[in-house]
């Protein structure tokens, strides 16, 4: 009896002591030690993060994680995915279960400042919209007063919805679910008149409904939804890596470096391209990865334009135009600071 208690005390004291002293180690070291990047994604949102026909994760958000893996390991496949509901995502990141959250997550001030997290850029500028059945004969969101609205819990969507209906003096009946699939099923079963989420999401979800052609996305965009990758606050090195992987992909598009011509471009004498591809300077070292980090990202994943076209662009069922997600030089908002 005495012995048992003694050993139990010692054991638990050891555990408690470990908990107290375990300072947050550098994420990059952890990632290197385990050999892969643990990436938090959605439970299935076509174009952003969803398993494809072959069972591999694909999408804009997924490609960002692959880019990070390519920068760190030179291997875009050194990444594992954790599908997370909207409700689980921040806790998973805070607790260290994942290294980066790339899950169509809206950058807001409260999330940036109160959750112990940092947003590492915007990889998709989105806005919240509404989807309805064509048979309702509605062509504007301002006609939706009195409707039942299906929405996912734990999202900015839920709050924007309230604000929009309030501002326009309309009423509605919220039907709130935790998981995306549950919202989809309820809307498909006609539990709600309206489905609301980010517009890109609506196009993606519409594809999965039993009769996509019977639904339409209303023209109104009721909010700003800058979606981007998130990392833990307090680890600037890792923050820099994720941030600059995104910027490298944007810079590559701007300079015309693609996954196909990156080997030729490596011989370029343009100093901008040379700095991007690690022929000049030590930009890789400064963020703790090899000097050809951006080369690897572009070679294995592609530049931002390629990623966009491959996942949500005109050639995909989603057929979303570049719109505000075009480069700044082409009238959009995507703008990366120079590598210099």
């Amino acid at each position: 009896m005495k012995k048992k208690i003694l050993s139990a005390v010692v054991g638990v004291a050891a555990v408690a002591g470990m908990g107290a002293t375990a300072a947050s180690a550098a994420t990059l070291d952890d990632v290197k030690a385990k050999g892969f990047v643990q990436c938090g994604v959605s439970t299935g949102l076509a174009g952003f993060s969803a398993p494809n026909d072959a069972g591999d994760w694909s999408g804009i958000d997924v490609d960002l994680c692959r880019g990070v893996a390519a920068a760190v390991f030179g291997d875009a496949s050194a990444v594992k995915f954790s599908p997370l509901s909207a409700k689980e995502r921040f806790t998973a990141l805070q607790s260290g279960e994942i290294d980066v959250l790339s899950r169509n997550t809206t950058w807001t001030m409260s999330r940036d400042t109160q959750l112990g997290l940092n947003f590492a850029g915007v990889n998709y500028y989105d806005g919240q919209g509404f989807m309805v059945r064509k048979s309702l004969g509605v062509n504007s969101a301002l006609q939706l007063s009195g409707a039942s609205v299906c929405v996912q819990t734990g999202t900015t969507t839920e709050l924007n919805l309230t604000d929009y209906f309030k501002a326009n003096d309309m009423t509605y009946n919220p039907v709130v679910f935790e998981k995306l699939e549950e919202v989809n099923a309820a809307y498909d079963a006609n539990r709600c008149d309206v489905y609301t989420t980010d517009q890109s999401g609506l196009y993606s979800i519409r594809l999965g409904l039993s009769a996509p052609d019977e639904h339409m996305v209303l023209p109104e965009v009721i909010s700003k939804e800058p979606l981007g990758p998130v990392v833990r606050q307090g680890d600037d090195q890792w923050f820099n890596i994720v941030k600059w992987v995104h910027f490298a992909m944007l810079n590559a598009e701007e300079m015309g470096v693609t996954s196909e011509n990156v080997d030729e471009m490596a011989n370029s004498t343009d100093p901008n391209v040379m700095r991007l591809l690690g022929k000049e300077g030590t930009f890789g070292d400064s963020i703790g990865v090899s000097n050809d980090w951006a080369y690897n990202v572009i070679k294995e994943v592609g530049n931002y334009g390629e990623v966009f076209e491959r996942n949500v662009g005109a050639s995909t069922p989603l057929a979303i135009g570049r719109g505000v997600n075009a480069l700044w030089s082409k009238g959009g908002l995507q703008y990366a600071p120079p590598i210099r």
Partner: protein
């Protein structure tokens, strides 16, 4: 750490020196040690959590309760708008949980008793039907059953437009995939008298019951308590209704635009959850009831029959009172289970405590530790209250041993 080792060393000394052979003292020492150890665990856990939250830059504390919630809730028994506070949202969720639990317990008990008795029936068909019911429902996970009922409710029922309701026309009763719509009773000035009449009738019923029992003990004469009580509870409010000039009116539901408005609505999420919870728990209660009745020895009913007591009275006065003391303790567990299982509502979109508070509020505030702890505390409190009530009830029906 040093502190801990010190305590352990002290314990060794005190045991070895003087009180080694006194089991009471030895036990006491170990119990005190254990308490210190547990307190230390709790303390280090809490301080660790606070430290880690602070270091990670995550907001903590309960200040968020006073902030504006900013989201809407589909079903609320108290006034709530998106301008209400998080605290009010918490109470909305708590009430929604309690309502579904209480109504669920009510139906589960009734269905459970009926099925339990049916399993003991001599009628082959009834008995087999009850057996199939019990064996099917208690062996399928509740979550699946809830999803089934939700899908069943939603996919069988048509939408309000498909029912062919005329827009704007008042409907007395309508069941569609937006809910079960019935007229709502709207009280007008003076209607409170009717409520008082109901309360007076109930109180009178209780007193008549006591008086009748006393009289029967003294004189042996019986009094139709049930019929009198029923009469009172119908006649008194009716009188009050007429006297106050009929101050109640009905508000009918009607189809306006997308949805039904006005009237009294039972939402499909609530229906599915109630169906799932009551049917599932009823299958366990049925077995408890059956066990309770079988636990009463056959000799008891034979003795009652031998005394010339009719079968009806035999079960009411002899069998059931003895069965109850076997039934009630496990029944309490089932009530607790039902209450806790109601948290599965989150899967079918019913706005219960877990969905509103542990879901939306947690996400909008990001304060997982506080929110989850409070949610757990609430369920603990609900369970302890239920348990306390059932213990009281148990002691009131327990056999008095003489």
């Amino acid at each position: 750490m040093a502190h801990q080792e010190g305590v352990v060393a002290d314990a060794d000394d005190s045991g070895r020196v003087s009180l080694m052979n006194d089991p009471k003292a030895r036990g006491l020492v170990f119990q005190v040690l254990l308490i210190i150890f547990v307190l230390f665990l709790v303390y280090s856990g809490v301080t660790n959590a606070i430290d880690n939250l602070a270091r990670a830059g995550i907001a903590s504390g309960l200040g968020f309760f006073g902030e504006r919630a900013g989201f809407d809730i589909g079903q609320s028994f108290i006034p709530y708008t998106n301008d209400s506070t998080y605290l009010r949202a918490f109470f909305v969720g708590l009430l929604n949980t309690m309502v579904v639990a209480i109504i669920g317990i009510f139906f589960a008990t009734i269905i459970g008793f009926i099925v339990g008795l049916a399993r003991l029936s001599k009628n082959y068909l009834v008995q087999k039907f009850a057996t199939v019911y019990v064996e099917t429902l208690r062996n399928i996970p509740l979550l699946l059953q809830l999803l089934f009922w939700y899908k069943a409710v939603l996919s069988i029922l048509p939408s309000p437009r498909q029912v062919g309701l005329e827009p704007g026309a008042e409907v007395v009763f309508s069941l569609n995939n937006r809910g079960l719509y019935m007229p709502r009773i709207v009280p007008e000035a003076g209607a409170s008298l009717i409520l008082y009449a109901v309360i007076i009738a109930i109180v009178a019923w209780v007193f008549i019951g006591r008086w009748a029992r006393k009289r029967q003990m003294a004189t042996g004469q019986q009094f139709p308590v049930f019929l009198t009580g029923l009469g009172l509870i119908i006649v008194l409010p009716l009188l009050a209704y007429l006297v106050t000039g009929m101050p109640l009116s009905l508000e009918y539901a009607s189809l306006q635009g997308f949805n039904m408005v006005d009237g009294w609505v039972v939402q499909p999420e609530f229906m599915a959850l109630l169906l799932g919870l009551s049917l599932y728990t009823a299958s366990f209660i049925a077995e408890i009831v059956r066990a309770g009745i079988l636990a009463v020895s056959h000799g008891q009913s034979e003795a009652a029959f031998a005394l010339g007591i009719r079968p009806n009275l035999t079960s009411r006065l002899v069998i059931v009172p003895q069965a109850m003391r076997v039934i009630i303790p496990p029944l309490t567990s089932q009530y607790l289970n039902l209450t806790k299982n109601s948290s599965l509502a989150v899967a079918i979109g019913y706005p219960d405590l877990v969905s509103i508070f542990g879901g939306t509020v947690l996400n909008q505030t990001g304060q997982a530790v506080e929110v989850i702890s409070i949610t757990m505390l609430v369920y603990l409190t609900l369970s302890l209250l239920t348990s306390a009530f059932m213990n009281w009830f148990n002691s009131s029906v327990a056999l008095v041993e003489r």
